[in-house]
């Protein structure tokens, strides 16, 4: 692509929100997270057709990151599914971040990791979803670790076949080599003022192709 054409495209993109078909092939393969620091860290967001693992302890900003991806995807007209092993998803938080709930299918597995795995397999195989969130953040660690690598491989293969971005949210890395991108998150500090919790400073660390990169961002209330 010539320099003039690239400049024209950049100019158009800065002025208008281009439909997906006009974006470049690289853009189409990435799903931006909506958090600039994370987009820089991941070279443009989570990749479609792959498994991305986002892990961290309680209150490390995992849910905010995934809801940010979800809200951006639903606003762009993508259908998304949230498979919630522990039933902890908060619809009000998603709507507060600008997600379009009409394009979200929420499956509350009520604490059963096994059912969550089955649902994830069924829904990803059905195809048509742009983003599939497999939320094991509150699942017991023992159960999450019991998911065999073969299952993770099967999920990754299905995601690759249907072209969906599969995002798994866990406490620790579970999918090992099946995940293309691993983002580990931790809370650096809690920001408060007076009687009000103002936010949290988060540090994210990505592991891809044996490279470690970090990024900082702040979640505000």
């Amino acid at each position: 692509m010539s320099a003039a054409l690239l400049q024209l495209r950049a100019e158009l993109e800065s002025r208008f929100d281009l439909p997906q078909g006009i974006r470049s092939r690289t853009d189409r393969k990435r799903m931006p997270t909506g958090i600039e620091a994370i987009d820089r860290l991941t070279d443009g967001g989570v990749e479609r057709g792959t498994l991305t693992e986002i892990c961290g302890a309680d209150s490390s900003g995992r849910t905010a990151l995934v809801i940010s991806i979800l809200s951006r995807a639903t606003r762009q007209g993508e259908c998304c599914v949230w498979i919630d092993a522990a039933g902890a998803f908060d619809p009000a938080s998603a709507v507060g971040m600008g997600a379009d709930p009409d394009r979200l299918l929420w499956v509350n597995c009520g604490g059963s990791t096994e059912n969550a795995l089955k649902c994830c397999d069924l829904l990803i195989q059905a195809g048509g979803f742009g983003l599939v969130v497999f939320d094991l953040a509150d699942a017991p660690e023992r159960e999450a670790r019991r998911i065999p690598l073969a299952s993770w491989f099967r999920l990754r293969h299905a995601a690759e076949r249907v072209g969906a971005a599969l995002v798994a949210m866990t406490k620790h890395i579970n999918a090992q080599s099946c995940s293309t991108l691993q983002i580990e998150m931790r809370r650096k500090r809690t920001v408060a003022a007076g009687r009000l919790l103002k936010g949290m400073a988060i540090e994210a660390e990505s592991r891809k192709h044996f490279q470690l990169r970090t990024a900082d961002f702040t979640l505000v209330r």
Binding site: M97, W106, N108, G128, R195
Partner: protein, 419 residues
């Protein structure tokens, strides 16, 4: 040729009688039917004999008229007693003595005709058409034509309500789901063939099972999009029945489908792909079978300040907006909550009215930061009113939580974690 049967007081018989002569029957009023009798000469002979045959079939005193157009037959039957056969071209002459109020025009038009001294069809027919058009407008022209016996409209036949049903009575009761699936499959194929024959689909299937010594068992499939896939329907009904099986052996199965127009969509090149509705519906049925129907769907926030108040609806995404600019993105990334459902009971140690330690089965530790209290209450007019003090706390071992104290019961609960 058209026949009109006018029988005040015996309206119920009319449709049945007319249907024996023609499939094209229009019921213009409760006591009047008009039907097409063209081509019946070879069966009944001349129109006079046909009229007598209709009279015999009616079996009750009725006015019968046969004319070349439906309106002339209607007016003759309503205005002339007994049997009337109007030869083609003699309509104006036959209808001339009838009172003009049979034409059924508006009140203003009838009053004007009365003022002019027009009492019969014949008198009205003699008026010049141009003059009638100038003084009475479109309605006058239409009534003038009817008075001359020049009807030109077509029949509007009454159509029987379309029913798409199939049923099977079994010789021996079935008490297993697998053999019952074969019966349901046959019924589904039959109903789907009926729908396909009319180029229709369905968005609701009702399966009614008559049981041995037990009340009827009903299973209803409500689909967000019209579908016509017997195999998908069978799988969905199997899942429904295995989740909620009949209480006794099945004696009879009845299946009914609600007909709707099939789904037609035009996909855009630049729109994101979305799940194929037929396939998705089957997948959702399988997922519901695993986790329960109430746990799958699209959450919709209720219009209330009550925390964690939402309703689940069926997932039926609207077509994607053209382009990708559906609303402005939020300015910054916010803290999100992860809910504990139900909230976890906790014991909280307070010093100087501030929480210093939290003990609960899953979340325990020394409080290193506590922000609050924030008092909220609502729905005081209902039994499930809430009235509480909320605190945001950070624990020493990690984790930032929202907890609250119920002011009525003085009990503490951990509601959610910030993440």
């Amino acid at each position: 040729m058209y026949a009109c049967l006018y029988c005040p007081g015996n309206g119920a018989l009319l449709m049945e009688c007319a249907a024996e002569f023609s499939p094209h029957v229009e019921q213009t009023a409760a006591d009047t039917v008009i039907f097409d009798v063209r081509g019946l000469e070879s069966l009944y002979g001349p129109p006079e004999q046909l009229a007598r045959a209709i009279e015999r079939r009616a079996g009750v005193p009725a006015n019968i008229a046969i004319a070349s157009n439906p309106d002339a037959a209607l007016h003759a039957a309503r205005g002339i007693r007994g049997v009337t056969v109007i030869p083609p071209g003699k309509e104006a002459e036959t209808l001339a003595p009838l009172p003009v109020n049979l034409l059924g025009g508006s009140a203003g038009c009838a009053e004007l005709l009365d003022l002019w001294g027009i009492r019969t069809f014949g008198e009205f027919a003699k008026l010049p058409p141009l003059g009638v058009a100038a003084r009475l407008g479109d309605e006058g022209v239409r009534l003038h034509r009817l008075a001359r016996g020049e009807g030109y409209r077509r029949l509007r036949p009454a159509e029987a309500a379309l029913r798409f049903e199939a049923e099977m009575e079994l010789d021996h009761p079935i008490d297993l789901l697998e053999p019952l699936s074969f019966v349901i499959s046959r019924l589904l194929n039959e109903v789907c063939d009926q729908l396909r024959g009319r180029s229709l689909a369905t968005n609701e299937l009702r399966l009614c099972l008559l049981l041995e010594n037990a009340p009827e068992h009903t299973a209803t499939l409500r689909l967000p999009v019209p579908m016509l896939d017997a195999r998908a329907f069978l799988k969905m009904l199997q899942l429904e029945l295995s989740g909620r099986p009949p209480a006794a052996p099945v004696l009879k199965a009845h299946l009914a489908a609600e007909p709707v127009k099939p789904r037609r969509t035009q996909h855009g090149f630049f729109l994101p792909s979305s799940p194929e509705p037929e396939k998705l519906e089957l997948t959702i049925a399988r997922v519901k079978h695993l986790v329960g129907a109430g746990n799958v769907g699209t959450p919709e926030l209720n219009d209330t300040h009550r925390p964690d108040s939402f309703a689940m609806h069926a997932f039926a995404p609207s077509p994607a907006p053209n382009g990708s600019h559906a609303g402005e993105p939020p300015e910054s990334t916010r803290l999100c909550l992860r809910r504990f459902r139900p909230p976890r009971y906790a014991q909280v140690l307070m010093v100087n009215n501030r929480p210093v330690r939290v003990i609960s089965p899953s979340v325990s530790g020394r409080v290193v930061m506590a922000k609050g209290p924030w008092r909220t209450s609502g729905d005081w007019w209902r039994n499930d009113a809430w009235n509480r003090d909320e605190w945001d706390i950070a624990l020493e071992g990690g984790g930032v939580f929202r907890m609250y104290r119920e002011l009525d019961s003085e009990r503490w609960f951990i509601e959610a974690s910030y993440d």
